[in-house]
Subunit: 368 residues, 4 copies
């Protein structure tokens, strides 16, 4: 739990004003390097033993953190987020937002009440071509949406003995990971991306959980029928036992006039079809089918690849703009702040909850 | 309804003997060119007005046809197939085999009783790399199968007014097309391919039918959860409203040690993954990962592409070998005769029937 | 050397008239199956021991062949083509047209003098998307051409001992194969395709021949700088020792406003870029960016792949239309007859000759 | 010209010791943000008007920089690099190293004399799969190398008026850019990559320079025949007028037993073929065909893409390890320090010089 610096100059052209100073970010959690206070102390300026202690101390300092990133396991996201927001500190929290719907809705309430900036770590929505995909749908260029198919296929849980590895065990422990493993971890990415790009909330689903391969306390695979606003049908799949699939987050949206397809394994390209015309392949980079909203998030010239770290950086940049705007009282265009909101985070928890209810009912339709 | 010639020399190396003469094939149906007797008469040697008349007359001739191909609409497949088999003429019938399960099972019975050769037009199973895929599964090279996903995505029904076109209308007319349109026409290809390659019968499914876009009398889209022998879970999707998808018949089989992926839009390559190793791309051609059972069906050298016409030719060649073997009393190795059987044809009709029952029940599980 | 039937009904819509009868095609040469007269006699109606004998006899019959296909080794193409043309029989001859420029120019002269139809087997130019590529250039959609790069990369000669195999030996024997092996066999395909699509004759080149791997009497690899009409620069490469390349005939044409890229290993798709816009992928099939000149050569519906056999069939169909037009006195639109001409065949021989002269001069520029 | 921090903890497992403190890096040049001293002063701790002043001042401070990165235009690389090395400060300099061979060889001499760490910005060699490619060649897994083809194709100079844009003008000005534009800027990346992966020095070349499209003071396109150690033939192409190519740096190495292919536009995958086996696709990530030397440079898990920024970070990390090793007297395994050396930088200048000499001689062979 420590402090890092957000950029002073957010390096965006146009009307965004310079900040009076660099922002200060606290790190809450952070994987193996945060295990011990000794390690943390060596790497950071200040180090705390609890959320509450950190929130109070930082809020009291004149050079205290402006915001925190929370990357702890899921079951303490609520407690941490609450402590910081109530101390007046903005929060960027990893997904899934919480393990319980009530907690997620609690955070929605606290964020609304305190007015704090709150972002959730759905970084896949921050790839520039994903932003362009969202724009294409919003422009009506694929017509009325008829179908939405999304899947996230990985293969790292294929070995029979992988569930016993230390970094895997907690993901399959209901006390830490919550009522699902695969659904909460990667299914939520798929659900978020589908709604983010289509602009359609997921309203209903029916889900079946499976354990493929070696026995495990939680599902490693989930298959769903989905229904979005306007009765749009679709499917959602997620699994970690698909050998040959490393990061197969794949979104397909089909409309009355065209279609869109994207695959995280080829993250810099977007297939866009207008029915009756050749397929178009939009590549990340300035121009050539990318509009200003997507170009704003580009760092490297056409042909020099970006990756997930840059997508994460886009999420942090948008979050930082919001934090800065709130602190310095300046105005940032709303569409520059497309980071995943606390409501979207809560939608993810409602999605997990609905999938559990459906699975337990034998795969019947349930409403989110 | 006319006669064509099957190859005298089947051009297979090895022990297969030459026939004493070329085989004679009758054409039953055949699309627009068969519409009028006048057209047919100009193209063929002999021309008939009914199945029964043709079957009797050809059976009575010393130079009568050895076999017929039946490419009429679905609702008369039973009547035609029955007439020819009972007259001692072998049959290659298009899919779906019939519109009714009872009819399909009737054909199974007639074929068993008469001993006639009977093949069904699931030509996708006759691509050489598909045969290699089947062999890889049979060899255990992907381990125990854990999941099977298959889809067939086309886009030609995207235009709002396409359902009124003459060549489309009958596909959406329940009297001709049967109780389904998309399921029977392309869903059956998907179901056949999945079982053919995996070696696992489909035992249960739950299906939801959808009409995307303009209203139609039958479904244009179907989404399914599937269950194969050994409780292997999966999904099956078929739609004709997926803009940007021309021939997206895609099969993915994941096992405890590896996976297989194939896409009709890239029909000459097979992705084969052994977990822990690089992906392997097997290309149609001699050697380089293709075994003898797949190589037997190759016509052109590595690097010179084959297509669906050659897959069809493979189906006809295997059918012709079976016809010749029966007539000339010679022996053909069983694994050289992998053409889709009447039982597989009947499985397709049971699949359609199950999908209708499931859809009508609100998407519950039904057993085939 | 035998007779087969060309289609009576060429199955083209529009003004093309039916023939009064099926055309008759003689087969001259034909690989392993033509080795012995005994084999040939079993497969054909009539069988001859020499070009001259066949030409005279067939010309004298009322049911003689209308045309022949010549698929002998290169060194007797001239003798055969001459005999048939002078007997009034049309010719489709394999490439390279001859081993000597003088012979190729002799065939140009004979074809002009006799008025016979003469086609050369550059079948790569008969893929439907290649025809669309040619149209795109002709329409000015990529602007003024600035660069042309073409290569044909295969790998089947990689094994050290392959040159001793019987079916390889003649390709490396200068007495049969002529002064080059790789250049004449696959380099000519590359050169033809580049000029066919770009519409620009190749005017100059500089070439270096290489023997990669085991010693061989002729080159297995050639590297060239090329210059086309209007001083357009480019490169041309051909090799049979590129492991992992089966049929890597790849053409790239770059212009002032856009570019085109095609690869035989993905023969049904064409990449078309208009600078400043997304890449477009044109897929073989009706509509969706394919124009009427390319659609005319399509056999199967979008999504059902075609291959090289269908490209060959397109070449034969266009040849047959020309043969029929000459015989029946009917008119066929000129742009329906885009088969490779005797002049294009002679261009190929001039290309080979220039590459030899350049290589022998130490890789200097030579004019074709 | 300013100071930034190199990582204190280089985050490499194994024997690499922690530094006693963070390293300090000075920035020399740096594009638009370095234009004015005012801008620089706002962003940095200390700011200087000349190389000499900065080198002397920093060397005299107890908290002076340990190393500098030089990202000025090419024509002052020598002066800057010399000043810092002679003041005892390590240097990471952008490519091409200098505009003149004598200057490049001067830097080789200074680096050897002073013992300073010197790295050159050939970041393409720092992609993890490129390191794996190098290892595959070194292991003999593709046999004896027979051919090397490399190209760098971009399209951003396609518009007729682009040469007048401010950020382009200096690249076409011989006083700043040196005797070449395309060769020095992107051709050198291609040449470096080919030698880096193959392990073979480039010994001879013949080059032709072209101006495609609008007139320009320097070439925008170069075509080369190349010869590497052991008389291995090849080609090298670079152009900025290939519409549809954004970052087409493509390397192909063919050997007696297999081949390797890589494309910057698909930077996370490596095609590796062993003749007679299926193609293998190696994906960046731990295991699955990646060895320890390549895995050492991986930041994100399999399936979460990395890009060019991470490749640059790898170059800086290896440079930092060398700087730290020299300062703290600790030992780092030699194969952990594969960053491009001053000799490789000088090779690039000799490559440019040879290409100019060849072009001026009419495209004859010249020795590097």
């Amino acid at each position: 739990m420590a402090e890092r610096l957000l950029p002073e100059n957010l390096n965006f052209d146009g009307p965004f004003p310079r900040l009076s100073r660099r922002l200060r970010l606290g790190v809450v959690g952070g994987g193996r390097i945060s295990v011990t206070q000794a390690t943390a102390a060596r790497m950071t300026d200040r180090c705390y033993a609890s959320f509450e202690e950190m929130a109070q101390a930082e809020a009291a300092r004149t050079d205290g953190v402006d915001a925190v990133m929370i990357t702890t396991p899921n079951h303490v996201h609520f407690e941490g987020s609450k402590a910081f927001m109530e101390a007046g500190i903005d929060v960027l929290c990893d997904k899934p937002l919480t393990n319980e719907v009530a907690e997620a809705e609690g955070l929605e309430e606290i964020a609304a009440r305190t007015g704090q900036v709150f972002a959730v770590g759905y970084a896949m929505s921050c790839f520039p071509v994903i932003r362009q995909a969202k724009q294409i749908v919003a422009d009506g260029a694929i017509g009325k949406i008829n179908q939405i198919h999304v899947e996230f296929m990985q293969d790292w849980m294929t070995p029979e003995d992988v569930a016993d590895a230390p970094h895997v065990k907690w993901r399959l422990d209901p006390k830490i990971s919550g009522p699902t493993s695969c659904v909460g971890d990667i299914g939520t990415h798929a659900a978020h991306l589908a709604s983010f790009v289509s602009g359609l909330p997921l309203t209903d689903l029916r889900a079946e959980f499976h354990v493929c391969g070696a026995p495990k306390p939680l599902e490693d695979t989930v298959l769903m029928f989905t229904r979005y606003q306007n009765e749009v049908p679709g499917t959602l799949m997620a699994t970690r036992l698909a050998p040959g699939n490393r990061g197969g987050l794949r979104l397909r949206i089909f409309g009355s006039e065209g279609g869109l397809e994207w695959d995280l394994e080829n993250s810099e390209q977007l297939k866009f079809n207008r029915f009756g015309e050749p397929d178009r392949i939009i590549s990340r980079g300035h121009g050539h089918g990318m509009g200003p909203g997507a170009e704003r998030l580009i760092r490297t010239a056409r042909g020099f690849p970006e990756g997930i770290i840059e997508a994460w950086a886009n999420l942090y940049t948008e979050f930082a703009m919001a934090v800065a705007a709130r602190r310095d009282g300046v105005t940032v265009p709303t569409d520059w702040l497309a980071y995943p909101s606390v409501e979207q985070g809560a939608d993810g928890v409602r999605f997990i909850d609905a999938s559990v209810r459906s699975h337990q009912s034998g795969g019947g339709w349930v409403t989110l």
